[in-house]
Structures are given as C-alpha cells and as structure tokens.
Amino acid sequence: MAKVTRVIPGFRFTMGFTLFYLTLIVLIPLASLILKGGGIGFGKFLQTVLDPRVLHSYLVSFGCAFFAAIINSIFGIILAWVLVRYEFSCKKIIDGLIDLPFALPTAVAGIALTSLYSENGWIGRFFYAIGIESSFSLVGITIALIFIGIPFVTRNIQPILKDLDTQYEEASMMLGANRWTTFRRVIFPEILPSLLTGFGLAFARGVGEYGSVVFIAGNTPMKTEIAPLMIMSKLEQYDYYGATAIALVLLILSFLILFSINLIQWRMSRLKGI
C-alpha cells in the first residue's frame, strides 16, 4: 500500500483523541451491555423478551412510533412546502418554531401535553366530547410522539425543496399535467429520499422515546406500556439482566429500521442512476 501523505497537520492527534473518547463513552459501555446481557443465558433471555407484557410493549412502541412518523411525514411535507414556496407574514416565526421539540426538555413536553389532552384539558375536552380518549391511551402516546418528531421530516425536506429546479414543474405543466399530478410525478420522487430519512429518524426516535411519553401514557400493563418503560420497571426491581434483554431486542430492532431505510435509499439512488 502506498504511503498516504497528509498535508494538514494534526491527523494523529485528532484520530487518537476521537478514537479514545468514542471508545470510552460509547463503545465500552455498549460492549458491557452486550457482554453482560449475554450472561443471562439463552433460555432466560427468551423467557424475558417473549413475556406477553413485554411483547405487547414492543407492539405499542413500534406501532405508535410508526403511526406518529406517518402523520409527521404528511405534515412535514406540507410544512416544508409552505415554508419554501409561499411568502406570508409570520413565516419566519413558524420556521423558527419547528425546532422547538429539539429545544424543549422531554419531561416538560410530557407534562404540558398530558395537561392539554387530559379529560379537562384545553384540547382534551374536545377529544373526549367526541369519544376519543386523548390521554392515558394509545392516542395519547401517539400525540406525544408526533410532538417530538415534528422537526425531523420538515428539516430534511426543506433544503431539497429549496434547491429543486422549478423548470421541471413548468415543463410538466406545459405538457398538460395538473398541479397535483405534477407534485406526485415530478416533485415527490425528488423529495422521497429525504422524506425517508426524516421518517426513519422520527420513527427511531419515537421507538426509544421515554420522557414525553410516560406522563401521557398512563402506563397500564398490556395496554399503554412502552418498551423503554419496561426496561425502567425491570431496573426498579433490580432485574438488571431482564432490563438488558429487553434493551438488546429494542436496540436490534431500531438498528434494523435504520438499516432497512438506508437500504431502500441505496436501491432508489441506484435505480435513478440507470
């Protein structure tokens, strides 16, 4: 192998420090989780993660996160479109507000949403009036997950939409397509990869989310318990191995989601290349 010469100094120092810090903070702790989790034994591991209550919590976490990510994708496209294509007053404020879920602590979001969507809350009373239980239910969990996922899709699509050349849309209109067809056939394929990225990030974040959900969820066994809460309650019983087993399954599932989204994107970019 030819020796690579690097012009800018500092390679060894930055490489050394980056690897050292990464190993210390991320890799060693993760490794000890995996190694210690292995200590539980295969039979006990399966027994823990296949417990109906635990299985149900995975279903709740993934189901609600998926649904919230879908809703955020729809509103994310609308928000990005409105912010890039239209001019109107207070547009700057709306644009600035979108990042609020990143800035607001999850526990604060959790108690605020619970208060709003509970039976006597400002918004909850309307939901309850039409028979929808908007707190201490799956609906409540989904609402909390929508809140924390708002910025992901919008912020991923915005730059793509901004850089999109409008001449393709014009050409499509000239050829007789209406606005909706143009959006569906010309614009949508362009934003699809970044939409998927945003969806994947919102989904993954939702699956692991704890702070904003625990307050509004009500945490009823077999109904509204989320997977991170199951880890928490195992820990409270000092069942470290049980907690680790649930965590490992959650980790693997989250990585699978992110991996499959990367795979779809890769397939799409290859198709586009041909």
Partner: protein, 269 residues
C-alpha cells in the same frame, strides 16, 4: 409560477393550525399552569431548596457535557473532513450511534458498566468510588446522549468549505493549532455556536438516561427534569409547571439563538 389561491391558503392554514395545536399551546399551558396560583406560589416553587439543588446539578452536568462534547466534536469533525483514511464511514456511523439509542438504554449501559453487577464493581467499591446513582453517572449519561450534536452540525459545514485554505496555511508553515484558530474557527463559528446550543438544550433537558442512573435521591442526584417528575407525581402540578417554565424560557432562548445563527449564515453566504 402562480399557485391556486385556495390551495395556498389551505396549506398555510393547515400548517398554522397544526403548529399552534402541537407547539404553541403546549408552551402556553406551561406558563398558565405555572402562574395559576399567583406569583408567590410560583417563586416559592422555583426557589425551593430542592429545586435550587436540582438546578445546580443540571448546570454542572450540562457544562461538563457540553465542554467535553465540543472539544470532541471539533476534533472529530476536523478528522472526518480534512483527511481521507480507511474506515472513515464506519467511524462516522459509530459517532452517530447514540442518536439511534433510546435514552433509557443510554442510562442502562452505564449501570451495566459501573453498577452493582458490572466487571468494575469490585474495583469501584474497594476504592470507594461511586459512579452510578451519583453525579459522575449523571454526567456520563448526559455526555452519551449529546455525543454527536456538535460533530453533526460541523461536518456538513466543514465539508462544504473544503480544505484549500488549511492546506495553504500549512504550506506557509503554520502549525496545526494556529491553522485551526486562525483559519478554520472563523469559518465555522456560527455552525459551532449552533451545535453547542443544541447540545446544551439536550443536555439540560435529558430525562430518560439521567433517570436511570440517578437513583432519584432528592437534593443529591435530582436534575431539574427529574425534580419536575417528582413534583408532578406528587400531584403538586403548579410547582411542577413552575419549575418547567424555567426550562421553557431556556428553550425559547435556544430557538432565538438558532434563528440568529441561521440569519448570520445566510448573510455571510
């Protein structure tokens, strides 16, 4: 291209209603609930000794986490944008790893590394070192969850700027640190500020990870978000929202800084 007026105003309307319901009203409700029993109760709640202790701990954990992750973020971004080497993609994915991990699991990894059943437990108890259920554990968990923030903000920026200026500076004989200080830093300062601000926001508000490693000892290992949880679970809603309002004010400040940074970036571009 002129859009149909109805479509335009419907879409703007949907956006405004959605954001009002999901973002603005939750902020308002915190403030209204916090002040619902008057200013006296409000100030009593935020000046409560336990609240002040929690504030202090949050401040310590945030400052340490942000300083560590900023130094790391600058190093890692420099490494990933100024050099080419094998395994760069793997390293980059590993740095992003904490993003994909649930905060509760982030706390759990430290319990498994330093807690009662860890390999290090004998050593730690023999030397009377306490990491889990103490301040060091809270700091570590906070560092973990905010790990990639600064790097993620800097990499696209430094990538777009290329490395010509740094190479030129090297040719003229500048040392690594001088190049960083005089050439790179002025170019990335707004992105860096935004990364630090985001990192601060997340560090200050982290709940799940800190909850696992804290042990919830009042006045000792409670951070502000944990203090809010305790007050809320004691049905002391007004006090919970009062303490929460402090964090809301910080969140709004962060949004303002974010917008200033973006505005500066656009002006310079």
């Amino acid at each position: 291209m002129q859009e149909n007026k109805y479509v335009k105003y419907t879409l703007i309307g949907i956006s405004v209603v959605f954001l009002t319901l999901m973002l603005i009203i939750p902020l308002l409700v915190v403030i209204v609930e916090a002040l619902s029993k008057g200013f006296a109760v409000y100030f009593k709640a935020i000046l409560d000794p336990f609240a002040l202790k929690a504030m202090n701990l949050t401040l310590i954990a945030t400052v340490v986490a942000v300083v560590c992750n900023t130094v790391f973020g600058l190093c890692a971004a420099w490494l990933l944008t100024k050099y080419s080497f094998k395994g760069k993609n793997i390293l980059s994915s590993l740095i992003d790893l904490p993003f994909a991990i649930s905060p509760v699991i982030a706390g759990l990894v430290f319990v498994m590394t330093f807690g009662r059943i860890s390999y290090l437990n004998d050593f730690l108890t023999a030397n009377n070192l306490k990491i889990v259920f103490a301040t060091p554990g809270i700091i570590l968990a906070t560092i973990f969850v905010t790990f990639p923030f600064v790097t993620r903000e800097l990499i696209p920026l430094m990538h777009a700027q290329g490395k010509d200026e740094e190479e030129a500076a090297t040719m003229m004989g500048a040392s690594g640190f001088t190049i960083f200080r005089k050439v790179t830093l002025p170019n990335i300062k707004w992105g860096l500020i935004y990364g630090v601000v985001l990192c601060t926001a997340r560090a200050m508000g982290e709940f799940g990870a800190v909850s696992v490693v804290s042990g919830h000892i009042r006045g000792k290992t409670n951070t502000l978000p944990l203090h809010i949880e305790i007050l809320y679970n004691e049905y002391n809603f007004t006090a919970a929202f009062a303490v929460a309002s402090i964090l809301v004010i910080f969140a709004i400040l962060i949004l303002i800084v974010r917008n200033i940074v973006e505005w500066k970036n656009e002006k310079e571009a």
